[in-house]
Amino acid sequence: MLMSGYGKKYDVIVVGAGHAGCEAALAAARIGCSTLLLTMGLDTVAQMSCNPAIGGLAKGHLVHEVDALGGEMGLNIDATGIQFRRLNMKKGPAVRAARAQADRMAYSARMKTVVEQQELLDLKQGVVVDLLHAGDRIAGVRTRDGLDFLARSVVLTTGTFMRGLIHVGLNSYSGGRAGEPSSEGLSEALRGLGLTVGRLKTGTPARLSARSIDFSCLEKQSGDINIKPFSFMTDAIVRPQVDCYIAHTNKRTHQVIRENIEKSALFAGVIEGIGPRYCPSIEDKVMRFPGKDSHQSFLEPEGRNSSEMYPSGLSTSLPPDVQLQYFRTMAGFSQVEIMRPGYAIEYDFVEPTQLRPTLETRVLRGLFHAGQINGTSGYEEAAAQGLLAGINAAQSSLDREPLTLGRDQGYLGVMVDDLVTQPTLEPYRMFTSRSEYRLILREDNADQRLTGVGRLLGLVSDERWERYQQKQLQVGQGLQILQQETVRPSDAEAVAALGLDGLKNGISLEVLLRRPEINIEQLATVSPALAGLSAAALEQLEISVKYEGYIKRQVEQVERFRQQEEVVLPEGMDYAGIESLSSEVREKLTKIQPVTLGQASRISGVTPAAIAVLQIYLRKSRHG
């Protein structure tokens, strides 16, 4: 093939314009790098390939972190959400999470506009088939059309496209997503670099025609009356919301599935990739939990003007005729029509243990991976990694210090540490239970954890910074108010409003707030000064006062591990030469190349004894 250069040289090239790619490209450009975002299809920017929703437990947390760092996802869902619900309102402040249904088309369109309008960022269509490198550094990418694009850093966000193989029943064909071609060539190029490439599987349910469903048989689920936005920049969201519905499978549905089980690609053994435990197909559920006679499914509208409905929990690789047959056994679905059949898809991913905690590959400087190429699933997981990879690709191309986040700084830190430390055995999804410091990684304090970090990188606009400082100022004022203002027995009105009959002595608002039955809104009704603070500041005050004891204990736990987290293991350390380590441990350390002692201690099979040996070894080599 005849090759030609493109002429323009970029600082950063991002391959793939999904949720990871868009954040990566925007971050790089916003930091000040001339950036190219290359995608196979300009019409599918920030496409929601699976369910039309953003957020949920731990995922909502990730979106808040992306937002605090100056990313786009929170703003995008705030602008295009059609139903908002906050989950777990009664289960504790750290496990409350925002979730929203998106208008799929609007979500994609808005993100495309933002990308198109971003200064320093070019959005182009092109299929990358090879990587260019000069020595141990990436130099650019080559497209199928024979064009070479040069850059100092490259971020790969390939989604499910690399060697994508779609399974519908026992039929299979190449494709990166329904109706879109796969990307061939790139994973061979990665293998050529010495990277280990693996195979994963995921799946999606059929999309159903809303017109053909009898919603009167289904339970309706509406959005929250007062919407709490995702972004710290959004004041309020006031717009009509759409409803979701809850449907159920039944014994007949399960019977249809069992009778046709041999037609499922999953059960016929034609799929080699590993699927996620947390997202089993309906045939998986029916076969693994035979005692369960019914499974629920949320029917999620794909958009305000779309007739497509997404039935969650019913992903499948059964043939379309069987899909139709089992849907029609369900209440409300007797006349249902399938608009797009569900399918399973296998795709290549690159073992993320080959990455640094900056998401840069260890084999090639300047080459970064984010999203499903790292074996993760989920838009939010992808976006968060994309943001980090974009930041570090920019930093690397500008020869600046990379950013790594600790497990105590955010779910993003937890996720990346897990990815680069633990072998990927299934698509990785974020759960709050993965965080040992859950209490301090809340949605509400994501700005406190990360806005300063984003500001230093140049990702946080003046407006966002001003807002953040304003909130912090109010929190400080609020704390003073709580400590200084008291309710006295003579304040008849306040005593009555707070239910403090029989109050003997004056009592400060702070002490009152510690009582389980009193919340900050009640206090605001008796304190005009408090009532003058923003809702965000009040929420912050309430959590930090009410749960002070627990938060302190959690912070102490962080401190206990800090020492190990701060001990840096030199790059290229010769673990094979440390004979006191077992061969299993030596092998693992060599493979994972942990950056800190803390990371080393989290590698499965690396015992406390091995950590002690490493400590001795480090001390010894430091003293010569």
């Binding site: 437990l57 402040p93 089993p280 499974h295 965080s435 006191s580 004894a609």
Partner: protein
């Protein structure tokens, strides 16, 4: 044997060791006979000592070894001497660790080091479980499983709020936690008995001169005598005898030196006596039943006031005139001469030391301080869990206590990783979008 390692070893030896031959310089790897004297020049023990110069030593540092008499009390005194001097106790495996740091170990030994250090930092499931044998290990496993199961449920409720999960039955969880809490208390309650059975208890005989301490000591040694470590020496403070009383290993300590210490003008003597008394698991306070209670008896009583103690009224075979109403301790009248009251005293001692634990019964026995500490802390977490639940605190705070309890138990029986919890969720419940 007491071993000292480090550059200060030789000066530490010279500080207290008086060689029999008037040696000025110590030859490396040469054995010297002599006396170990404390700061006041008091005889601590007659010992053999060897100085070994670096690097031809186990640790490759300078090493001194002091070979002393085997009694625990002697070893304790020597250790005390050096702790006061400024040395510190070696941690488990530290000599080997030093050897490793100094590059002495070869490949084969290096493997052993890892497991030794392991024993020190210790949280490997396998090794830790090997230390906790049989019933205890099974009981701890059950406790951990109950907590894990509860955590799986709570984490599922948190992470999968929109899934079909078992109903949030906090009442049931409260019952489970209360049960586990009770089990933990049952285990920790065995610790004092466990420690006594594995390490032995020390019983100090206190009383004025001629009250009958030696007779009682001999009587208690009697036919149940198992091991006798008679430490000779007329200047020795304490006379220590090992014996088993109703199956409980006991060190009986007759405070020969305390006789003089009871002299009211000797404040220092009183102080030392009190110190000994504090270290004892049980004090037998002897009063001569055949004579009036005197000033010396009251001084002796003063000295043991804070300690767990029995009152032993001696010489029951003679007319009883002592009025012991000043002393609140449970009284055990004995006559060593005619053998009266001794078996009652023995069972009372055993019962006191073991509490409700019966050596023959099939119950768990906790012997390790570390395990005890972990279980006590875990128990506190569960108590807070139950309290928080009663207060209606949100789920995540319950999980916070549970995670900490599991982390503490993990130090004995292996960590619970977040992936264990997820695995528990996915295998127990059908979740997934």
């Amino acid at each position: 044997m007491v071993r000292i390692s480090g550059p200060q070893s030789l000066s530490a030896l010279q500080k207290y060791f008086r060689p029999t031959s008037r040696t000025k310089t110590y030859l490396s790897h040469q054995l010297y006979h002599g006396l170990l004297l404390d700061e006041q020049g008091q005889h601590v023990d007659e010992v053999m000592a060897v100085y070994m110069a670096a690097p031809h030593t186990y640790t490759r540092d300078d090493v001194v070894e002091i070979h002393c008499h085997g009694s625990q009390q002697v070893v304790k005194s020597i250790l005390n001497l050096y702790l006061c001097y400024g040395l510190r106790l070696a941690q488990a495996g530290e000599f080997t660790y030093r050897a490793f740091v100094n590059g002495r170990l070869d490949l084969g030994q290096a493997e052993a080091v890892a497991s030794l250090i392991h024993a020190k930092t210790d949280s490997s499931r396998k090794l830790a479980l090997a230390q906790v044998e049989g019933l205890l290990s099974r009981t701890l496993f059950d406790v951990t499983e109950s907590l894990r199961h509860t955590q799986v449920l709570l984490e599922a409720w948190i992470d999968f709020p929109e899934e079909e999960l078992p109903k949030e039955d906090l009442h049931h969880i409260q019952q489970v936690m209360a049960q586990v809490s009770k089990e933990i208390v049952e285990i920790t309650d065995t610790y004092s008995a466990g420690r006594v059975l594995s390490e032995g208890a020390s019983i100090l005989l206190v009383g004025r001169p001629n009250v009958g301490k030696s007779s009682l000591l001999n009587a208690l040694l009697g036919e149940e005598r198992a091991i006798v470590t008679d430490v000779p020496g007329t200047t020795r403070d304490l006379l220590e005898e090992g014996v088993t009383i109703s199956g409980v290993p006991v060190r009986l300590v007759d405070s020969a030196g305390l006789r003089e210490s009871m002299d009211p003008v000797e404040a220092e003597g009183i102080r030392r006596a009190k110190q000994k008394i504090q270290q004892a698991d049980l004090v037998l306070f002897l009063v001569d039943g055949s004579s009036e209670v005197g000033e010396q008896d009251l001084y002796a009583y003063d000295a043991c006031q804070q300690a767990p103690a029995f009152l032993v009224r001696t010489k029951l075979d003679l007319p009883q005139i002592a009025d012991t109403s000043f002393c609140p301790y449970t009284e055990y009248p004995v006559s060593t001469k005619v053998g009266l009251g001794l078996s009652e005293l023995r069972s009372a001692i055993a019962e006191f030391l073991l509490g409700s634990y019966l050596p023959s019964s099939e119950t768990v026995l906790l012997t390790e301080q570390r395990h005890y500490d972990a279980l006590i802390s875990a128990g506190r977490c569960l108590a807070r869990f139950i309290e928080s639940l009663a207060l209606g605190l949100p789920l995540e705070f319950l999980v916070f206590e549970l995670r900490e309890a599991l982390h503490l138990l993990g130090q004995i029986s292996g960590e619970t990783t977040s992936d264990d919890v997820l695995e528990g969720i996915f295998s127990s419940f059908c979740v997934g979008k």
